[in-house]
Amino acid sequence: MSRIQTRRRFMLDSAALGVAALAAPRFAPAGPTDVPVDMSIARWKPPAPSAALPDAMAARLAEAAIVQLGGMSRFVRRGDVVWIKPNIGWNRKPEHAANTHPHVVAQLVRMCQEAGAKTVKVGDNPCNDPKQCYENSGIAPAARALGAEIVFLDRDRFRNMAIGGKRLKQHPVYPELVECDLVINVPVCKHHGETEVSLCMKNYMGVVEDRGEFHQDLPATITDLTRFMKPRLCVLDATRMLVANGPTGGRLDDVRPMFTVAAGTDIVALDAFGCELLGHKPESISTVAAGRDAGLGRTDYRALSLKETELS
């Protein structure tokens, strides 16, 4: 009963937001006061240049980024089922920066719960053994401690869905994930051999199966997936970045502190910001350019309604 309602509501909301997102840059008057914030960036200025990021600060950065964006209640309604989709792709420790920072994830869980979410689910489709990835990334223990539901994506529960993309027509997607009221996409900002960067759009690789072939045309497949997923809220974890030997990492020398968390409704804008953090021009990154060309967002994120803050 309630499920039908929420799904319908989800679809209506998605459609409305999609129209709004597409229409906003073209027709909306660019006034800083009457448009909602599209993107927010929170940075931490460490007391000393060599300071390490305290876990609590990772959480505070995530909190600040969401609050600036209008707070979690802008996206989560009372009784919603929310899926938080971090990058838990690899069996690595948090300090290796191959997965999303566990305390960024934990903070989002907390904020969803405070906004009245009925259930907060956390899950990804890892490349290494899921149980080891979930535990060693620190994400499952942190989210479990807050009462989030840790979901393993079951290989036997994927369902073929109509993606209707340029490259992907049909593909196995995890139903439980797309049936949630909201999916919060929380990637870690890092290097990737094939696509140079792995950011928000690439993070959707974790909602499907049989993705090995995607590599033959990552820009198109990732764009197709992103359009299918209809992103409403993405949070880019750049508390620390893996800058080489990605996306797996494993060398602490390849990890750079960045003390930054960005959040926004425009996935391409966030990816463009991530490209700049990693030292690339967004237009030179094929996946980001493909997302822009497909109308999923804009790479000139500074033209959006943008808020920045610096914590100390």
């Binding site: 690899w90 069996n91 690595r92 080891q132 036997d156 072939e213 033959q216 030997n245 390849d254």
Partner: protein, 536 residues
């Protein structure tokens, strides 16, 4: 329908103890799972530590044994005092055979279980096993009851159960039956999830050639239709070994000659067929201490009493082994060892590229001296890539582990296999050491690799390569298309200085049928002879 006689207190006690040990065995087996961020507990190998045959054979073959195996000396001492109670009360395989024997009772003619000369065969099996072990092969350790049961359950019975669970839960989930608002998956899914997350190691776990392992196990069970506890009486080399120690136990069977009328009912339910000469003779080396004889005697004339071994041994009969039989068994063991060992591979003439041993595995002859093919490493492997050999290591290496990267690579952050190996055929390496061990070397098949052969971008292997400095790197190369265009794309290469041979690349290659990147054993750290490169 014939009613069974009510069980006595001692029988119920024995069955309770047997069940407890069987459940303990199965519990330890189920808990033998990878532990994120750590290694599985040493206690999970408990039954191997209590196995004197594993200790003896490892010591004989490798001239060394891990200290944990010395716990088996407890069983030796207990056997010396109480007889083969290990077989009758503890051994989980023995318990299954006892249960199967009981279930198959109707198929056998009821008759007193008299000792048969053929029961000496297990001592000859033991002799042959010891000789093969002395010559450096653990091959007949396939018959060790603990290893046999562990292997059968880990690689065949449990995965078969998992298949049944996954198929059932999957079809319930897909068809979603129910009554009114209530749907059956509301019940089946939580059960399934529990089993998936807390019992099974990984989804769709299956082992190559597990049908053969299962058939062998079922055959040993089926033989109970011929004789009660056939395996334990005639074949089991551990039973034979314990029988040697049960030569003159303290706990002996006493028959009251005044009441015994040679009815032989005491032997009707005997597990070990230890009675002889009517009811008066008793063979302590065959007795498993099941005490069914005390229940069976209508005159209550059979009891077990403690008596120091230096007392009279009037009615106890030792198992008489013939010198000819022992020499024959030893010769057979030697012939088997030499025959199995005399292959080009075992002699070091050839190297099997497909034989990728787990990280920390000893060099091949040493490995075969220790590996009892128990399946612990295969059970614990988080990717399911460790699989039983069929002939890859020669017949001598039947059911020993090898990595099959197509099924699962070697997880970079895992060193579990070495820590669960009861005989240290795989060394228990610290994680940082294990990450430096090379088990093989990956190489590309340029005639199939997409960027080389078909002009398509790919690099999935590079993406998954887990070494901190990626062993797979790429350069920009050219591909000549049919229309004359020259396409520039990223083409991968292997850096042998960093490749550990883990096989994750082979596992994820989109060419599922025959991956364009394969790991072969060349370059494996354990074998200085199997090295392709000039050192330095």
């Amino acid at each position: 329908m014939k009613r069974r006689r009510a069980s006595s207190a001692s029988t119920r006690l024995r069955r309770g103890v047997q069940l407890a040990f069987l459940l303990l065995f199965l519990g330890l087996l189920v808990f033998m799972r990878p532990r994120p961020g750590g290694v599985p507990s040493e206690w999970l190998g408990l039954f191997f530590y209590l196995d004197p045959l594993a200790l003896l054979l490892t010591a004989v073959a490798a001239h060394a044994a891990p200290p944990t195996l010395l716990a088996a000396l407890i069983v030796v001492v207990v056997t010396g005092a109480l007889g083969r109670v290990f077989c009758g009360w503890v051994c989980p395989l023995g318990t299954l055979h006892a249960a199967a024997s009981r279930a198959m009772d109707p198929w056998r003619k009821p008759r007193p279980e008299r000792w048969s000369r053929w029961q000496t065969s297990k001592y000859y099996v033991l002799a042959a096993v010891i000789v093969t072990a002395a010559l450096g092969l653990q091959w007949v350790a396939l018959l060790d009851p603990i290893a046999l049961l562990y292997r059968s359950f880990a690689t065949a019975v449990l995965p078969a159960t998992q298949l049944a669970v996954e198929a059932t839960a999957g079809s319930i989930y897909q068809s979603n039956p129910g009554v009114g608002e209530w749907r059956l998956p509301a019940l089946s899914e939580p059960v399934y999830r529990f089993l998936r997350d807390d019992v099974f190691v990984r989804p769709r776990q299956a082992f190559l050639g597990s049908g053969l392992i299962l058939s062998f196990f079922l055959l040993t069970l089926a033989l109970n239709a011929v004789r009660r506890r056939f395996w334990c009486r005639y074949v089991c080399p551990l039973g034979g070994l314990l029988g040697l120690f049960a030569w003159r136990p303290w706990l002996v069977r006493k028959t009251d000659a005044h009441v015994c009328n040679q009815c032989e009912l005491c032997g009707l339910a005997c597990h070990g067929a230890a009675t002889d000469d009517g009811a008066s003779g008793w063979r302590p080396q065959e007795c498993m201490g099941c005490m069914n004889c005390t229940d069976g005697c209508p005159e209550h004339g059979v009891t077990f009493v403690f008596r120091p071994p230096w007392g009279g041994a009037d009615r106890e009969k030792p198992v008489d082994l013939s010198r000819r039989g022992l020499l024959g068994a030893a010769a057979a063991g030697a012939a088997a060892a030499v025959g199995l060992y005399n292959t080009p591979q075992a002699r070091g003439v050839t190297v099997n590229p497909e034989l990728i041993r787990p990280p920390g595995a000893r060099r091949e002859p040493d490995f075969l001296e220790r590996c009892i093919a128990c399946g612990s490493c295969m059970k614990v492997c988080p990717t399911g890539g460790l699989q039983p050999c069929l002939t890859e290591a020669g017949l001598a290496g039947l059911w020993t582990p090898r990595l099959v990267p197509r099924i699962g690579g070697c997880e970079f952050e895992c060193n579990a296999c070495g820590h669960v190996c009861p005989t240290e055929a795989i060394a228990p390496l610290p994680l940082t050491d294990k990450q430096r061990v090379r088990i093989g070397l990956a190489s590309f098949d340029l005639g199939r690799c997409l960027p080389y052969a078909f002009g398509r971008e790919c690099l999935v292997c590079e993406e998954h390569c887990p070494t901190p400095t990626k062993a797979i790197y790429f350069t920009r190369g050219e591909f000549a298309a049919r229309d004359g265009r020259v396409v520039t794309l990223k083409q991968p290469h292997v850096d042998p200085n960093h490749c550990t041979g883990c096989g994750l690349c082979e596992n994820v290659c989109p060419l599922r049928d025959a991956p364009a990147i394969r790991v072969r054993s060349g370059g494996e750290s354990r074998d200085p002879k199997n090295q392709p490169f000039l050192p330095g």
